[in-house]
């Protein structure tokens, strides 16, 4: 078991190492091989090139990251400590932690947090289970396997807007296909947009539809890295397909599963486009009782509809802190996982 684990881990790390060092090494070799006298401008140029080039190559990312991620992040923090209105961006008055206090005592904030969590669970759990099952099926020898994989990835390639608009029509109260189908089973039409659980389910279904194939591909890639001899020896020991899946595949996939859980959780925390568009007109309210208003929607509603940017920034930072907590939990889990193996 442990040797195979190493086998799984090795290609990745060695590939990383190779890609990390080889360009520098190659350049270094060439630099040394250059027939230039020491201290000539040419050799100085070479040395300077050797030292500076790597930084120059990675600089674009960090410049863009700084300009479009880090600065806004810090500026948002600054905003969150002020009373800022959208119509008067230059008149910021210091508010200290008022915006945060306001959030903690606001029913709307807790409601949004609760919705974010519940929609997150309803969408992530079935999505990952379905992805696992799909990946397992695709791992068998199939005719036209490439086609199946492409088909699975199509939902991921469609835009959120297009997908949500179609789903909104499907879930439409009268004349929607979902209610039409339910009608055949004698179920009364559901007001998907306004009912409490119905709306959350509807929003989750859009997320599930879009992301299941994507996760399935990640699982599939990991499954194909599992050495075949593990299955062979399991088969010799008399394990059937299900037992092989449970006792060989799942343990081997553990790091991958953890990875997808973390990524999906981050995605769920930031859920925004689907509920916004699902709500149609004034979608940022997330329903008349805010029954599917996520944190992202609440932030948007506060900032751009109501125009209270200070509070919206506080919500943004609260979301960021929540993500940090999730990251920390993830780190702990991974450590424990490594130790237990």
């Amino acid at each position: 078991m442990s040797s195979s684990k190493q086998a799984l881990a090795h290609p990745a790390s060695s590939a990383e190492a190779a890609s990390g060092t080889s360009p520098g090494a190659a350049r270094g070799a060439r630099g040394r091989g250059a027939p230039a006298a020491p201290d000539s401008w040419r050799s100085r140029l070479y040395r300077w090139d050797m030292k500076a080039s790597p930084y120059a190559f990675v600089a674009p990312f960090f410049i863009l990251f700084g300009a479009f991620s880090l600065v806004p992040l810090l500026y948002t923090a600054w905003y969150s400590l002020h009373d800022v209105q959208l119509s008067a961006l230059d008149h910021q008055t210091w508010a200290g932690l008022d915006n945060y206090k306001n959030l903690l005592s606001s029913d709307f904030f807790w409601n949004a947090l609760k919705n974010t969590l519940s929609i997150g669970v309803i969408s992530t759990v079935p999505q990952l289970l379905a992805a696992l099952a799909l990946a397992h099926l695709l791992n068998y020898k199939l005719r036209g396997s490439t086609m199946w994989r492409v088909v699975m990835l199509t939902p991921y390639a469609t835009s959120v807007a297009a997908a949500t608009l179609v789903f909104t029509l499907l879930y439409s109260w009268d004349g929607g296909m979902v209610n039409w189908v339910l009608h055949f089973f004698g179920v009364d039409p559901v007001n998907w947009r306004e009912s409490d659980w119905g709306s959350q389910f509807a929003v989750s279904s859009i997320v599930i539809w879009r992301w299941t194939g994507y996760n399935a591909l990640i699982y599939l890639a990991a499954m194909q890295a599992i050495p075949a001899d593990l299955y062979e020896s399991a088969a010799i020991d008399g394990a059937n397909r299900w037992q092989q899946f449970r006792h060989v595949t799942i343990p081997q996939l553990r790091p991958t599963i953890l990875f997808t859980v973390v990524v999906s959780t981050i995605g769920a925390t930031q859920l925004f486009g689907e509920p916004l568009l699902f709500g149609g007109v004034s979608g940022s309210k997330g329903g008349s009782e805010h029954q599917y208003q996520t944190l992202g929607l609440y932030m948007y509603d506060q900032g751009w509809i109501i125009g209270n940017l200070g509070k919206a920034s506080a919500i943004a930072w609260s979301m960021f802190l929540i993500l940090l907590i999730i990251a920390a939990v993830n780190l702990l889990l991974t450590r424990r996982l490594r130790k237990s193996q």
Partner: protein, 441 residues
């Protein structure tokens, strides 16, 4: 991975944008360096100035051929319209650009729900258009809405939204109601509750699968559009929960929401459009700008079945202004364009195209709706009905948070009662909490 992929896509896009912008900026600066700065609007070497005009929804200028006409009259002008469909997306964008002093269009449209915010917070970012025109051309209340306390007019009125009731004659007939527009108007004259009473009558014999009205919110908005006080008094104090207008409009909406007469649709939502197409509701409070919308969405099936009657009270709903931001590069040309577009003759042309009702009374005498439209609405004297309403609309005062407050009452309060079966008291309380949140109380 999900986020990092998204982010890397965004990064790629940003890189592309950054590269393009630098290119463009370089292009612009070199343009102004060689002394042809007037042409730097990206118009190329033809020596034409490109004016951009930022609008939302469907203003109808393009559809009525006004841009082409203006460009023919002014060979040196090229007009480009930047349309954002929804005002709630359009306005925040405009606000940030105005304050940044960059990125605004040469002409910027302002919706009536945002005009007070613009007047009170952005007046110094707009050119004073009052000096450029004969202000007496506009309806007094329209002009007043775009004028600051010290007399600066930041936007010229385009259309207004005088109110009428559009109803399906055929459905009314089947339900055994009066179908004559004058007699109907007399039945509900003066009070929206009377309109609701007609609805109750309709529901007694309603044709299968139809309701009397599209939504409770539309009744609320229509009734509030005729009230003396909305959410703010004339000094800018918030009085929404003491306002008589809000109270009465709320009660009318509650009468609709708690009965069975509403199709429970959300206006401007897809199902609402389908409701027009399938004829699932028999009447709707229709401001002038909705006439074209109804014609388009109801399609052939509605032709000749729709009729228009005067609304219970004279009311206004919607309408816009055109302003010229001081950040614009071609202010002189932009002012000329705005003057021309908002002149009575041009407003009459837009009316002929899509029935957007002029805010300049001198146009009323010459207003002719398109022949199609008149036929579609059973030859109703549309011009007359809307003009009568327009002349008696009370002066209304708006406030900075007018739109979010309105949305709290309609999209939270009324919707809860209408679609979730809450009691009117519960709906009111929910709206109240929402408004507290809006006002940061």
């Amino acid at each position: 991975m999900r986020t990092s992929i998204r982010r890397s896509h965004r990064l790629m896009a940003l890189t592309a944008v950054a590269a393009l912008t630098t290119g463009l900026l370089a292009g612009c600066s070199s343009d102004s360096d060689d002394g042809t700065s007037d042409n730097s609007g990206g118009s190329g070497g033809s020596g034409r100035i490109t004016l951009t005009i930022g609008t939302f929804g469907v203003f109808g200028y393009k559809q009525a051929g006004l841009y082409d006409e203006y460009m023919k009259l002014h060979k040196d002008i090229n007009i480009k319209e930047n349309v954002t469909t929804r005002t709630d997306v359009y306005w925040p964008k405009v606000l940030t650009r105005l304050q940044a002093g960059a990125g605004t269009d040469d002409v910027q449209a302002i919706e009536v729900g945002n005009i007070t915010e613009a007047v009170q917070t952005q007046a110094n970012k707009f050119v004073d258009l009052g000096k450029e025109v004969d202000k007496s051309q506009w309806l007094d209340w329209k002009l007043a809405q775009a004028t600051t306390k010290d007399g600066k007019t930041i936007g010229l009125g385009t259309d207004i939204g005088p109110m009428a009731i559009c109803y399906r004659k055929d459905l009314f007939k089947k339900a055994g109601l009066e179908t004559d527009r004058n007699k109907l108007a007399a039945q509900w004259k003066g009070d929206w509750q009377k309109y609701v009473d007609v609805g109750k009558q309709y529901m007694k014999k309603a044709p299968n699968g139809t309701k009397f009205v599209d939504s409770a919110s539309s009744v609320y908005n229509a009734a509030l559009g005729g009230a003396e006080t909305r959410y703010y008094d004339k000094d800018g104090n918030i009085v929404w929960d003491k306002s008589d207008g809000v109270k009465k409009s709320w009660d009318a909406a509650m009468a609709v929401a708690t009965s069975d007469m509403s199709a429970k649709l959300k206006q401007f939502d897809k199902p609402w459009d389908q409701g027009f197409a399938n004829g699932t509701f028999a009447s709707v409070a229709c401001p002038a700008w909705m006439i074209g919308y109804i014609e388009q969405k109801s399609g052939d099936a509605g032709k000749g079945n729709w009729d228009v009657a005067a609304a219970p009270t004279a009311a206004n709903w919607g309408g816009s202004f055109l302003g010229v931001p001081t950040a614009g590069k071609h202010q002189k040309e932009a002012i000329e364009l705005v003057k021309w577009l908002t002149a009575p003759e041009q407003q009459a042309k837009v009316f002929a195209k899509q029935a957007s009702f002029p805010s300049t009374p001198s146009a009323y005498a010459s207003l002719k709706p398109a022949a199609d439209t008149t036929a579609y609405f059973s030859n109703a004297p549309i011009t007359q009905i809307f003009a009568d309403s327009a002349k008696t609309i009370p002066v209304q005062y708006f406030g900075v948070k007018d739109q979010p407050i309105n949305s709290a009452l309609t999209d939270v309060g009324i919707l809860q009662v209408e679609q979730k079966g809450k009691s009117p008291e519960q709906g009111w309380d929910a709206a109240k909490n929402e408004i507290k949140d809006v006002l940061g109380q």
